[in-house]
């Protein structure tokens, strides 16, 4: 049931006093800086090691992901407010399959890692991209972008075939998902009610305001949607990392089936950025079979703890369960095929 409701009507224009908001903002920023300045600067023994590592790991996810989320929001603002209407979308082919193919290559132009793709995809949906097409973009862009391709090539070279399988796997799975959800009879039901309403309002919302004010407004809305999800995802990632031993996963490395599943589980837990995951997994090459490495490199950029938390801002929980299953099955099938056939 859609629980959302819209409060119609514009309040009196005199509600906001010029300069007052700026003063409040600067005071808050000043207080936060003072808080940091007077906080302890060196680690004390107040926390147990495990608790301290949980905090360190969670903060690490936040510090690493936050600039990419900001970049994604900035690009989303560009697409929604600053680019001419339909600048990107009207250049796409009319044929749905060709549109998805082109969208899966959009990451070549906008090389944002998976965290930044979520706000960008939200902006594209708001401007008219279908749900299925947005999924194709979301799942292809972290793999089919120049930074990821270069780092994977540096880590594994061309000869091992891992780079080719990664690119092909990412492309095929993203387009398959786009195709599946393009057949959905009510694609809007895949989106959260709140995001549906935001899209519905998007076209006429604040149309009379200047672009700078609308940009600032969109920034507050997108950060209010994305950052709580990022912090929750970071906390979960830190919690699981401190609770689950990696030794268990590494011992499964030489089995053709378990190695694939183990590295997919590791990708889900580690939530590492697709731009550098190849370097991380490189040393596993001696322990794990090639199919497991490819499964890690394909599954991780599409689905992990942090990514699910971010995607939840846009898609319903049921949709995310379905997406996770499809991506996991496809990645596992790809990994097993490489281990057994290639």
């Amino acid at each position: 049931m859609n629980m959302s409701q819209t409060i119609a009507g514009r309040p009196p224009a005199a509600r906001r006093r010029p300069g007052r908001g700026l003063t409040v903002g600067l005071v808050i920023i000043g207080l936060v800086i003072l808080l940091r300045a007077f906080a302890p600067q060196t680690p004390a023994d107040t926390l147990a090691d495990t608790a301290r590592d949980f905090v360190t790991l969670s903060i690490s996810v936040v510090i690493e992901s936050l600039p990419f989320v900001f970049l994604g929001i900035v690009l989303s603002i560009m697409v929604q407010i600053w680019l001419p209407e339909g600048f990107l979308l009207r250049r796409l082919p009319k044929n749905p399959a060709a549109r998805r193919v082109v969208l899966s290559l959009l990451g070549m132009l906008l090389p944002v890692c998976e965290c930044g793709n979520v706000p960008l995809a939200r902006g594209l949906i708001a401007k008219g991209l279908t749900v299925g097409e947005s999924m194709t973009f979301l799942f292809a862009a972290p793999i089919l972008n120049p930074v990821t391709i270069i780092t994977t090539q540096q880590a594994f070279g061309w000869d091992s075939g891992i780079l080719v399988w990664r690119i092909a796997g990412g492309f095929l799975i993203a387009n398959l998902i786009g195709y599946i959800y393009s057949r959905h009879p009510k694609p809007e039901s895949l989106l959260t009610p709140r995001f549906q309403d935001a899209c519905a309002l998007g076209d006429h919302h604040d149309a009379a305001d200047g672009k700078i004010k609308r940009s600032a407004g969109l920034f507050t809305k997108e950060t209010s949607a994305m950052l709580p999800a990022l912090f929750i995802g970071a906390g979960l990632a830190g919690l699981i990392q401190t609770a689950v031993s990696r030794d268990v996963l590494v011992t499964l490395g030489s089995n053709p089936v378990w190695s694939v599943l183990a590295l997919m589980a590791l990708a889900f837990v580690v939530s590492i950025c697709s731009n550098v995951d190849a370097f991380f997994i490189l040393s596993f090459g001696a322990t794990f079979m090639p199919g497991a490495i490819v499964a890690f490199l394909v599954f991780g950029p599409m689905i992990d703890i942090k990514m699910l938390a971010l995607l939840r801002t846009t898609f319903t929980a049921k949709t995310l369960v379905q997406l996770t299953l499809i991506v996991a099955l496809c990645s596992a099938a790809l990994g097993l095929a490489i281990n057994y056939v290639v």
Binding site: I29, V62, P67, T223, I272, A286
Partner: protein, 252 residues
């Protein structure tokens, strides 16, 4: 204007401020390396500055409460307090974690979770092979541990001296007599950190060097005198120097 509407509109800006101040503070104090790889330093700082400008613009230009087209999908009345409580919890947790607690590195608790000197943490065979014949005085903990793991024999190590700095973590197979001088290897951020270490034979080390304290060692390698340790070659120093944690505690 209700507190709930105010919170819904501004929670993102508040979390942004927390993240931006924490990032810039770490950057200015040279502590970003506690959490992320140096290749991200410039990008992270630039995006923090851009985001700060957007936050200031938001406070200056955006109405205080979402009063034109308010979206309330949190169930309205009965469960609204739960949404507000969750938001406050996230903001408070973020503030405490990023601003109140001091920046810190990973500890031995994480070493125990992540296969010290496992295949995931060392250099590849070809990289390790290329080390042989290099300038041994510049070798890091990672370089030496890779050579040990790749099976370079006692003959190779017989005339080598390691000059390394790392934190103290016990050898689980003989914690009384052997510890590792260890570092974490980071590819992207602390989340992917993998521990590497060189075994050090020094009976009674716990009395002098607490776990997770930092030490500097200059010593030759020898056959590990411990009969129960799984490590066959170890540093056998006559002297170990306590030291401060380096500005960049991880290796890359």
């Amino acid at each position: 204007m209700s507190f709930r509407r105010l919170l819904r509109r501004w929670q993102g800006a508040l979390l942004s401020i927390v993240g931006i101040v924490a990032t810039v503070w770490l950057g200015v104090n040279g502590q970003l390396g506690l959490y992320i790889h140096p290749r991200y330093f410039v990008f992270t700082m630039v995006m923090a500055v851009i985001a700060a400008a957007l936050v200031v613009a938001a406070f200056a230009l955006v109405p205080a409460a979402e009063d034109e087209h308010e979206l309330l999908d949190d169930g309205g009345g009965r469960w609204a307090w739960l949404w507000s409580a969750g938001s406050i919890l996230i903001i408070v947790s973020a503030t405490v974690g990023l601003l109140v607690l001091p920046p810190a590195t990973l500890t031995t608790a994480t070493v125990a979770k992540r296969d010290l000197n496992g295949s995931t943490s060392n250099l590849t065979q070809s990289e390790a092979d290329s080390l042989v014949g290099g300038d041994y005085s510049t070798f890091t903990v990672r370089d030496w541990s890779s050579l040990l793991r790749q099976g370079a024999g006692e003959d190779f190590f017989a005339d080598k001296t390691a000059t390394v700095t790392g934190f103290v973590t016990p050898d689980t197979s003989d914690p009384e007599n052997v510890f590792f001088v260890a570092r974490f290897v980071v590819a992207c951020c602390a989340v992917d950190a993998q521990p590497v270490g060189i075994p050090v034979y020094y009976p009674g080390w716990q009395d002098e060097y607490p776990i997770d304290s930092w030490v500097a060692i200059e010593s030759g390698f020898d056959t590990n005198p411990s009969i129960i340790s799984e490590e066959t070659i170890a540093l056998v120093p006559s002297e170990i120097t306590p030291t401060d944690q380096p500005a960049q505690p991880y290796v890359y």
